[in-house]
Amino acid sequence: MSTAVAEGTATTGVVGTRMRRREDPALLSGESRFVHDLVVPGALHMVVVRSPHAHARVVSVDLSAASGMPGVVAAFSGADLAEEWATPMPCAWPVTPDMQSPAHLPVAVAEACYVGDAVAVVLAGTQAQAQDAAGEVAVVFEALPAAVDLEDAASDRVLAHADATSNRAYTWELTPDPDAVQRAFDGAAVTVKERYVQQRLIPAAMETRGVCVVPQPFGGEYVVYSATQIPHILRTMLGITAGVAEERIRVVAPAVGGGFGSKLDVYAEELLCLVLARRLRKPVRWSEERSEAALATIHGRGQIQEIELAADADGRVQAVRVHLLADMGAYMQLVTPGVPLLGAFLYHGTYDVPNYSFSCTGVFTNKTPTDAYRGAGRPEATYAIERAMDALARKIGADPAEVRRRNFIGADKFPYTSAAGLVFDSGNYEAALAAALELVDYEGLRAEQARRRAEGETRLLGVGLSSYVEMCGLAPSRVLASLNYVAGGWETATVRMLPTGKVQVVTGATPHGQGHETSWSMIVADKLGVSPEDVDVLHSDTAVSPLGLDTYGSRSLSVGGTAIALAADRLVDKARLLAAHRLEVAPEDLELSGGQFSVRGSPQSTVALGALAFEAFTAHDLPEGMEPNLEASCTYDPTNFTFPFGTHAAVVEVDTETGKVDLVRYAAVDDCGNQINPLIVDGQVHGGIAQGVAQALFEEASYDEDGTLLTTTFTDYLVPAASELPSFTLGRTVTPSPSNPLGVKGIGEAGTIASTPAVVNAVVDALSHLGVGDIAMPVSPERVWRSMGAAAPGTGGGR
């Protein structure tokens, strides 16, 4: 069931309204405290000495000069710290039983495996002293050959780890019926075979990482402040890796300045601050510098994709076959190997494709480890299928919109069981496409494009479409088990009404810009009939919220929000029993409205929820067997992923004389089911689009042939500014998910998933009449200019 461009579903209450965020005043006034802002008297400042070599033996580490520098308290090599670790650093997703994963220590002992790999640490009284001393650490390296290029690394010509037998970490396959796939290709009227490179990206949250560990030697507890998305997972992993009893660790994520997956990890510096605080019995803190972040925080993407389509003469796709090489970087971080799997099921996109084959080989290189970055696997999958669908359209001479329409999974086919084995919850892909075409004025653009081409203008127009579906709301625990992920996918919530009628919500979700406090308060306000201002939301501190699985994979609302809604329902159930006792009626005769229970048929007989909270608190007159207080909890394990979808349309102007691409218009129609707060949904879509556009046009983590990262600053790594982006025109369709009681789907990653192929399709569309079929990302002016020359000498690039 879809309704076009509607907002929300609420008829009363605050859910569905564009409520302004409660988080904003503290952030706008500078009052919010990020990790870097915390004042911790007596803290030692840690600076990490990093390998300048992509691959080298660590021959010796001489700390004597550094140790004598002013203010230095201690300095350690990897060997000095080797005994601190109970286990190597964790990888939670061994995707195959035979996956190779070299032991990864927070400070390398004998072999540095990427530029940025830690080889020593220095601790001093101030940051400046520690930095000065770090420059005096004398490390003798013996350079080794480095595996830098992904395909070269896959050949095992050079090994990324000297004692490994291969760079190939694993091969993971999803081929339900290989013979049927082959038959489809053998019998296809049209085939398309494309090769795409997903360049490495640097997540570049505006707040770099930071850690501060405060030991309490006599209390036996460690308080870990970290700019992390995952305080709960971090606590468990810190405990396991450092050999500290988990309950002795309290992790607090204060205000966190963006993550995009890059703070969904367990990092060397978090472990180092913990073990050094343990060893020195003093607070230890670390603040990442921006150029350090480029090396020491995970990268995203990094894949070479080969996608083949088999279609009939009308362009109806009968089979999709995909092979990936995925760049793991030097080590497996928390979920590195699993990132391609999050896209593995989605290479047929929004299309009803009966035959499916996917395989991925994960490969080690001597580069910064990769891991989840906004979308994680799904942007890559969407890019491949949406680019390939345009290639198919060109091959059969059809309009890209029409080819999509011919192939969409019909709105009447949901729930849809895909050839890859997923059950798509709900969708109406054609409606979203139609809305996007209207929003962007597709017909008008095609006419203008034709006019410019006919008149030989040098500013060509291109329109690119991307119809996407993604799987998010991680995740049903049983499904995660089938994918060899070592944790579950549930989320916890507690809702309690305090004696004064105020409400506290405790959630295991951990926001870092998403506005959870606002959204959660809205859900609970409507459930209880109270004002959202009376609902406080507690999060991101394992002492307050002991159990949780944190925020990533567009899971917070569909999993965490559902847990909150169900906990609120349970609180109401209990309150109803108390109200029935108080009013001397049967519970089923009561209805809750506006925060009051009233008796059906005699509306003058009422009791307010707030009054019941006080009675439950005093416990003077509770029904037999009822426990005091109004509080309820829920741990919700979703029954399925959610499958948000939509169509984005990008419009570019390409200057054939310079190759410059201007993104001049952008329309996005997204469907994330019911919306709690459309204002926040808009913001998520805006930011997501910008990040996807950035991959298409601007950003790349570039390495030289020796494995040195060339893009360590914002002067080299081109995070787009306001001047490089247009305003975005948003539309929405609303197709509720049947998988959760709120009817919601995730929206945190959708914009990024959709936008990259839309933009590149637009550039190729502008130049397709010149014979251009592909341009590597980022689509720089130079690449555009060269593509014109390569495609048709004398018609564009040669001038």
């Binding site: 302004r20 965020r21 988080e23 904003d24 005043p25 952030l27 706008l28 006034s29 500078g30 009052e31 919010s32 405290r33 990020f34 870097h36 802002d37 004042v39 400046a128 570049a204 949250a205 505006m206 707040e207 770099t208 205000a255 966190v256 300045g257 963006g258 995009f260 510098e289 921006r290 150029s291 870092h512 810009g513 998403q514 506005g515 204002l679 926040i680 808009d682 913001g683 805006h686 930011g687 997501g688 689009i689 910008a690 990040q691 600053t713 914002f714 002067t715 995070v719 500014a721 306001a722 001047s723 490089e724 982006l725 305003s727 975005f728 914009g751």
Partner: protein, 157 residues
């Protein structure tokens, strides 16, 4: 060396290292942590403050250069009673912040920009803020907020 800087209307004198940057002076010496550090190449604008009314990236100014000058940080933008400055209010109204890390610098840059361009076009806003990076919002709502402040009759920045 000794510097005397008026920050948010209060003048103080301190001994600082000659190499100390203004942003570190504000954060560490004056305890004003609202001004954030987002990069080390003067690219991101997170540390933007006003010096004598004009925006500067405080990671590119030495504390010594601020000697005798007047500096305004995000902490002074709201009124003492907590009423948000019109720019701050517009940012909230238009959902122009998400994680909020770039926000203090962005607000200060907007204040300076609007001082010089009271009624800008969208293109001018986008050009004017190109020195301030935001990773969350895609800038759409920031631009909307700035235009709303500039073209509002009641709000005088």
């Amino acid at each position: 060396m000794r510097v005397t800087v008026t920050v948010n209307g209060t003048s103080e004198s301190h001994d600082v290292e000659t190499r100390m940057l203004l942003v570190h002076y504000l954060r560490e010496v004056r305890g004003l942590t609202g001004t954030n550090i987002g990069c080390d190449t003067t690219s991101c604008g997170a540390c933007t403050v006003l010096m004598n009314g004009e925006s500067v990236k405080s990671c590119t100014v030495l504390a010594a250069q601020a000697d005798g000058e007047e500096v305004t940080t995000i902490e002074a933008m709201a009124a003492p009673d907590g009423t948000l400055h019109p720019i701050q209010e517009a940012f909230r109204e238009h959902h122009a912040l998400q994680c909020g890390f770039c926000t203090p610098g962005m607000v200060m840059a907007v204040a300076s920009f609007l001082d010089e361009h009271p009624t800008p076009t969208e293109a001018e806003v986008r050009e004017g803020l190109e020195g301030n990076l935001c990773r969350c919002t895609g800038y759409h709502n920031i631009v909307q907020a700035v235009l709303a402040v500039a073209h509002s009759t009641e709000l005088v920045p």
